[in-house]
């Protein structure tokens, strides 16, 4: 199978290169960049010397469609919305890592992204690729909208509960913390080393564009689900997301029942690891891997459940899940090329 990586010089693109370079079933044909084409990927990422010496090419839909079976578009929101329809027109399948094709309702997109939504027909067609909870057979999908990093962590944590227990969806509060790579490669003041080191920031308060993405999926799972509270923090570390989730349960349940539910729900999911009761994951424990680690706690004092989930935002939260989706699209075992042990410490 042949793939092209579009947006190869961003962190998502670089992580796709790292993962696919070891994937036994895929050949990456070409890297594309809208800005830095002409030189080698090594000019942009010296760490790739001897790993990959591929040239960075301009983005030509025809060429990409001709050379590859699948394009990963690791391009920013607002770029993907224009690029992806062109690629689809040329008959190539696409996994898009931006936020452009995740929201079914164009008004939501326009309200949260401050940008024009893609064509509704394509939005309708796009499959939301939360790999453990796909609601369709993606072997026939033309376009997968790869989930956001935060929604991946939050939704994997919430799924069994929201689907199966009588919780109060309006009570859901997701306090999310991310490493700085989630903000991308562009040097801007807020993520200048000196401004971010030894510092903890809260950002995009009540304005994060992943809010409607989470709400859309939750209301698909539970008809009572509506708005939620979602907050995001920048933590002085490179990779990793932790979401700490709080939910009221109207009637008392037992911690044991909770664990059983989660273990049962994820028993066939290699990449979701339920942590032993009373232990909790740290972000470093999934560093560089496609795992999502989950812990649960039930507080009898307040009738509230706490869920803790961690992922590597660039792997399970972006490139890794994209490859997992690719595997499913092409009928390959989902672990193929993704069997990466976390890099610890």
């Amino acid at each position: 199978m042949k793939a092209a990586i579009v947006g190869a010089t961003g962190y998502g693109g670089a992580e796709l290169i790292r993962i696919l370079q070891q994937h036994p079933e895929v050949t990456v044909q070409s890297y594309h960049s809208s800005s830095q084409w002409g030189g080698s990927i090594v000019d942009s990422y010296p760490h790739m010397q001897a790993v990959s010496g591929k040239e960075l090419k301009a983005i030509s839909h025809e060429q990409i469609a001709q050379d590859a079976d699948l394009a990963f578009t690791a391009t920013p929101s607002g770029v993907s919305s224009k690029l992806v329809p062109e690629l689809l027109k040329h008959g190539i399948r696409v996994i898009d890592l931006s936020g452009d094709f995740r929201l079914k309702d164009p008004r939501q997109y326009e309200a949260w992204y401050n940008s024009k939504a893609p064509d509704e027909v394509i939005l309708e067609e796009a499959v939301y690729g939360l790999a453990e909870w796909l609601d369709t057979d993606v072997r026939n999908a033309q376009l997968i909208a790869n989930p956001g990093c935060y929604p991946t962590a939050a939704l994997l944590g919430l799924a069994p509960l929201v689907k199966h227990l009588p919780i109060d969806p309006a009570s859901i509060i997701i306090d999310a913390k991310t490493g700085v790579s989630g903000a991308g490669r562009k040097a801007v003041p807020v993520t200048h080393y000196t401004e971010m080191n030894d510092n903890l920031k809260i950002y995009k308060v009540l304005e994060h564009q992943h809010t409607p993405e989470i709400e859309q999926v939750l209301s698909g799972w539970n008809s009572n689900a509506g708005t939620i509270t979602f907050s995001t923090h920048l933590v002085p570390m490179t990779r990793g997301i932790m979401t700490t989730i709080y939910i009221d349960v109207p009637e008392s349940i037992t911690a044991e029942k909770l664990f059983e539910l989660y273990q049962e729900s994820y028993k066939d999911c290699y990449f979701v690891r339920i942590r032993k009761k009373g232990t909790y994951p740290s972000t470093k424990e999934v560093y560089g891997s496609n795992f999502c680690d989950l812990s649960l706690a039930y507080d009898e004092r307040t009738n509230r459940i706490m869920i803790v989930s961690v992922i590597d935002n660039l792997v399970k939260g972006a490139a890794g899940q994209a490859v997992q989706n690719m595997n499913r699209m092409f009928g390959i075992d989902e672990k193929t090329g993704l069997d990466l042990a976390p890099v610890y410490p």
Copy 2:
């Protein structure tokens, strides 16, 4: 005025030395340590060379009481409970930085600290020293229980709301994040550099001993207040606490009213800075200072208020607030010796 610092080799003690070394109204007579006495403070803290060359002395109640008007006990919980009564017996006033004298109910103490509570008479006498919300004139106090770092950040954020608005106290969720110095100076695996760097951890889930401290104060302020949810995370940074607080408001309010309430409540409090609407503090912005910065947001979509507060856990969350309390005890202007600009970046 003459003071003694007991527990001088911990981080709280070292920060007391740093602050008091510039305080114009206090002479620190002696440093005391239960374990490392005999040498100079410089052996324990080389950064103090030329700043202070004082000897570390053993802990002798008589000697301390004879030499000083006030003792700061920056000793661990379980040590203070034994030490402080002895000091009081000798007639010296005490500001205790441990958790031992904060909880009025000994059963609460014993349940959360797994240790025997101090004598109830002394517990009764101890004044809880949240400096901006003291409910008594401390000029006559013999013992001040200096608040915990997390409760300081959380309670300063919650006070105006819990006291004056018809919120639902049971809905309060405090998602707290701390720098690692809060865990103390002892080298243990969880805070080994390699295990903590580039890593985010959640810890003491549903078990943190600051929970009942926060609840006790809230229920003093609002008769409807009972249990709350409080979670704690270790962030890879040295200093700083951020609490992100979520509260349901049964009826709609306006953001403007919220800001007015806070500005009015803290108009005479130099150390509490209300941030401009739409802006949010980062922990580094109070680094090394006694400030507590507060931001507010009201979410119309969910009828929920978010409060963000940050402090330096070793200053406003420990030694700085202790000095602020000392100033009040001795009728000195509360800013004296504490007018430290944040060290930024």
Copy 3:
């Protein structure tokens, strides 16, 4: 005494504000910025709320000279060279924190800075302000060229040796390491958080503009001194410089003699701390303070001396030394306003 801070929005300027805000003998009249004037300093530095609410003004030489006795120009190289002569013309004294007036030889400046040198008359007049080794009485100086951060650390380490021992100056190798704040406040790729965190970089190899500054001073101290080797590394930390210096000694000396020499040389220098034999400073041990800590070792196996010096690059390496120079210029005790204990941890 009245001062103005020009370039108040850079890190050097901000540190001047922090230090001078507590200086008992100085009133800072105004802050100036070439780019961000019009608002308050708090817009640029939210951590200064309640500390300073001064307006940022444009740079008017007349106004500055009229309002203040002294201007600190914390402006970039290339800006100071134009600005300072104008200020001097208006009769105001200046301490310049850039590299523009440090090199006496304009050809050296032009070779290493790739920029036109200032007028030679002014270069001649400028006093190089290495505060512990001033070779003139600065009470009459009009212009002090405040030393670079690296030269400060290296030269304080080398002075006694180069002046008094028969070392081989050509053998001097200075391996320097700095925290990232030394690179300034501007967000650029090399100091983007994600590119710098958990990473160690070497930069400007054989090209660092502080090389001729160090060589100029050394050859003033020792007529045999010529070129040296100087390398610079970026360390993932905010503040701090360490220089590890290697020098051959043609004839054997004893470690004791070495320590005596240093202790004697710096016995009247509060800000230089000679560390106990066999112990070595870390950068955090001078964090936020004006200290320079020095350690020494003599290796009998190789007849080589190692000197280790650490400073806070923004304090002793910039704003702190500038204030120390101001104190000397105005006949004030050099410690005034600078008696800051290191912030540790």
Copy 4:
């Protein structure tokens, strides 16, 4: 081929597990620990859940020799010296990651390690496993002494120069900087997070036990080589070593000739990457990989060469090179199982 990992709970052991888990030609039969046996490796390293659930076994020489063809001993110096001879006696081949079998001269070992040297017969037999510069065919070796992390970085940087150019070996100065994982997993004060974060330390000045290891190899390569200067610094990052090396060249050479020499010397070495002239590696660019990146500069002003080398201390500096050595011992292509792209950012 079957292998056992002894000392599986240290960082070297954990990294062996991570690498070998993907090695197509090796089956790891068992993990052994002297202290933590009885439970699963997941109890010690939660990040290994689903990756490896192997039990930690006690160290039984007989059992290990019976079950495996090769033992990796990732045990501390002083432990390996006793353990390895026992394993060899049982006929199993060994790759030892400690310092115990690297020095041929027992007096050197005893002087620098303060511990009794192993039997001279075994020292003689042990092959020093600097994989790119093996001086013997290791397909018959019984015991490989895997090089230290610093010597690996320094020697790969020095080899072509010391072997082929008329440099002055006595002039060699190696200024080395390491991430904190090099200090091991044990929680001790010097590497407590709060003491190490945002801090740079120099340590073991003139006392580092890797000094004689480097000298031994250099004098094997160049009969003029004797003592060198080697210094070591702790950098606030988890992984990575950079050595900055300075050497005098008695006669002038050209930078071009230097590059040619290095390119030629390493043209068949996949894991050594010569960086483009004028560019320099950072440690993160080899993070998680087995690469050693080298840069060169010749300073015409001082007739001095600078070499910069970086490795991941846990991979090329420990477990990765051990696997590379294993591949050579068993006649497997050296890249097998080690074709790991750096994890960046």
